[in-house]
């Protein structure tokens, strides 16, 4: 997948020649004098033709970030700071006419549940024809021909008949294909995919992801894939942004993130993904202890520190700033964890901000709070392994665990 991206111009160096760059984005809810901040100082760049993943748990702010790009955050939510720059135009400053034009031609969006994102009282063809006529100025006959061609391109069998179908007459996978046809009808340069496969079964998931990569190749379209599933991200993305508690905590090429995560949260997230070998194995993967922060929690330091297995005393006061993983290799991405490498213990001085020398510093005991949390998690893990009914079936191996934590609260 990434081989394709490297053939495309601009992918190698995403920062200089970005199609989209989001900077300092902040999304708030609630009263203006005591806001609940759901997205805090988020930055993101996407190069032309690049597929970027945005991964995080429910409530991490990934969907809001995605919607902010199109200014589709409904009241009472609001973007209170930051810029969304698309080819030199600031989306957040656009007039309503410019915004409509931007949505109509430059960017498309697909949603988690393709059933609720298609109008139930309109035929598939009505959706396509309306969009093609409004956005590409086609005549009725042209729009019909193009609509059927679009359905064929996204792999819908018997497109002429499906053109006349209603959404409820199609399967979930077919509906998502229709959404993709619809979102790409005016050949956008960026497609926002908000959990595009979450509502689909595993085989359909793979087909839809294949379709997305094919469309990217054919149209040279960049894609932002929002997901909580590392399997999905790894399958299609060139680069990943990991979000936690409204912050981007790590970003970088998907291989580097997978092989060498530079933020404890990324590592914990990866560790919680069951792999194929774990099928039938009674020892369950470790989850992340504790719960994600509430919007009402205002943490002065690192937002992950309370749950971090590698937290040091200074972590609760250090500001969240993305720093290059490797100053010599800007393409390797950046991380918000100031302790590097975090896996090696030792005291950490937030004022100096320098990572401790992994050789010189002896391994010290973990802070009491973290230890307590770990012990609790281990107890919970042991309790879980005692129940054989709780084992993941082989087919479930792709589903990540962290998002389940909200439901277990």
């Amino acid at each position: 997948m990434t081989a394709v991206a490297q053939d495309l111009p601009g992918v190698a160096d995403a920062t200089t020649d970005a199609l989209l760059s989001v900077d300092g984005l902040r999304v708030e809810f609630g009263p203006a004098d005591a806001p609940l901040v759901a997205v805090k100082d988020v930055g993101l760049t996407i190069a032309p033709g690049e597929i970027v993943g945005l991964i995080g748990e429910s409530g991490s702010g990934k969907s809001l970030t995605c919607r902010s790009i199109m200014r589709l955050i409904g009241a009472p939510g609001r973007v209170t700071a930051g810029t969304v720059d698309f080819e030199g135009r600031d989306v957040l400053a656009m007039s309503s006419k410019e915004l409509r034009d931007f949505r109509a031609h430059d960017v498309g969006m697909i949603y988690q549940d393709p059933f609720s994102s298609l109008n139930p009282v309109m035929r598939i063809g009505d959706h396509l024809r309306e969009t093609l006529r409004a956005n590409r100025g086609m005549s009725k006959a042209e729009a019909r021909a193009e609509g059927i061609a679009l359905l064929e391109r996204v792999g819908i069998p018997d497109p002429e008949r499906r053109y006349l179908s209603y959404p409820h007459e199609l399967s979930g996978g077919m509906r998502q294909r229709v959404m993709i046809a619809l979102a790409t009808a005016s050949r956008p340069r960026l497609l926002l995919a908000d959990e595009p496969t979450t509502a689909l079964d595993v085989t359909t998931q793979a087909q839809i992801l294949d379709l997305l990569t094919d469309m990217r190749r054919e149209l040279g379209m960049a894609v932002l894939v929002v997901s909580h599933d590392f399997g999905v991200i790894a399958q299609v993305c060139d680069r990943v942004c990991v979000m936690y508690g409204g912050h981007v905590v790590e970003t970088g090429p998907v291989e580097r993130i997978y092989a060498d995560p530079q933020h404890p949260y990324t590592k914990a997230l990866l560790d919680s993904v069951p792999d194929m070998e774990s099928a039938g194995n009674p020892v369950r993967r470790e989850g992340i202890p504790g719960y994600p922060p509430e919007l009402t929690d205002v943490l002065p330091g690192c937002v992950f520190a309370p749950r971090c297995a590698h937290a040091r005393p200074g972590c609760t006061s250090v500001p969240m700033v993305l720093q290059p993983v490797d100053a010599a290799a800007p393409d390797a991405g950046s991380t918000a964890c100031p302790v590097r490498p975090f896996s090696v213990g030792g005291p950490f001085d937030p004022v100096a901000g320098s990572p401790p020398d992994p050789v010189a510093v002896p391994v010290s005991p973990q802070p009491a709070a973290a230890t307590a949390a770990m012990t609790a998690a281990e107890t919970a893990a042991r309790a879980q392994t005692g129940d054989p009914g709780d084992l993941p079936a082989p087919g479930e191996a792709r589903i990540t665990q962290p998002t389940d934590q909200e439901s277990t609260r």
């Binding site: 199109m70 409904g74 109509a104 960017v107 949603y111 609720s116 109008n119 209603y166 005016s186």
Partner: protein
């Protein structure tokens, strides 16, 4: 769709038959002798018996019912004892004003209600929304007879735009004589339209397909008017059809205020006169109109939302 229409039609025919049974036996079981009343209470027993014989009222009930059903099918609803004229003729003259009044009132309600509902839903809880709520609630709280009188006072007596009472046929006559009554009816219906449509629009505007339509760069008018409205009207159609069902035969208040010789006032007159045949015929026609209305409502909803056809299959 064809199957759905056939099923609905069959059901309607069954209901109509039941309606005929109920109206016939109800009126015959109600105490009070129409012949006595028609003869002014001074009729000798012989005279009463003679009239009863003429009208066939001395025959067994089932025979009378058979005749009644046969008459219904052939369009002959019998003779009015009180007015000494064919029932179909009497009703024919009085049906049109009421029917036109209801349709005209519905039109007024939609013309006023739909735009107000959209405006209110686009800026919920804003100044305009609250203003609309205040005014519609005020209009709803006014009894129809009072609202009618006020309209007649302002637009009839003071401004002299419309006559205060009476009925004329023909387009010009209808516009002149039925506008104030239709506005009276329409204002109270408009409240129903605004209330139901506003709340379902608000719900629909939260859905993902509206978000998705916006994400395709479609204009707000198209998003609301085409994508949201079609999904939101279902509740309004249901409530309106019930309200209009009540209005069929229930326009009597407005008819009295504006002196319109309609079916509502005819019903009241004939009940007072114990005019069996007439009451029976009006009840039957009103019932049939309600059945047809609900059939039309179902078909309209099935046309708008394809899932209705599935759900009721």
């Amino acid at each position: 769709m064809t199957l759905y229409v056939l099923r609905r039609l069959a059901l309607s025919v069954g209901v109509l038959f039941g309606l005929a049974v109920v109206t016939f036996f109800m009126i015959h079981l109600v105490p009070g002798d129409p012949v006595q009343l028609a003869l002014g209470g001074r009729g000798t027993p012989e005279a009463v018996a003679e009239v009863r014989g003429q009208l066939g009222l001395d025959r067994p009930l089932l025979t009378q019912f058979g005749d009644f059903l046969g008459g219904v099918v052939t369009g002959d609803l019998g003779l009015s004892v009180a007015q000494n004229a064919p029932v179909t003729e009497i009703i024919g003259q009085r049906l049109a004003p009421s029917a036109i009044l209801i349709v005209y009132g519905l039109f007024v309600a939609l013309v006023i209600g739909v735009p107000l509902a959209i405006i209110a839903a686009l800026r919920p809880n804003g100044v305009v929304d609250n203003g609309i709520r205040l005014v519609t609630t005020f209009a709803f709280a006014m009894p129809a007879f009072w609202l009618g009188l006020m309209l007649a006072l302002i637009f009839g007596l003071s401004l002299k735009w419309f006559p205060v009472s009476g009925y004329e046929s023909g387009i010009g006559g209808i516009l002149r004589t039925l506008t104030l009554p239709a506005v009276t009816l329409g204002l109270s219906l408009a409240v129903v339209v605004v209330r139901t449509l506003r709340s379902s629009l608000l719900e629909v505007l939260q859905t993902e397909y509206i978000d998705a339509a916006r994400s395709r760069g479609l204009g707000e008018w198209r998003v609301v008017g085409r994508h949201a409205l079609r999904n939101a009207v279902m509740a309004t159609i249901t409530v309106l059809s019930v309200d209009i069902g009540f209005l069929i035969g229930g326009t009597v208040v407005v008819e009295s205020v504006f002196q319109i010789p309609g079916a509502g006032s005819l019903l009241v007159e004939s009940v007072r006169a114990r005019d069996y045949e007439l009451v029976q015929a009006i009840a039957l026609i009103a019932g049939a109109a309600v059945v047809l209305l609900s059939l039309a409502t179902d078909l309209l909803q099935a046309t708008i939302d394809p899932r209705v056809r599935l759900a009721k299959r």
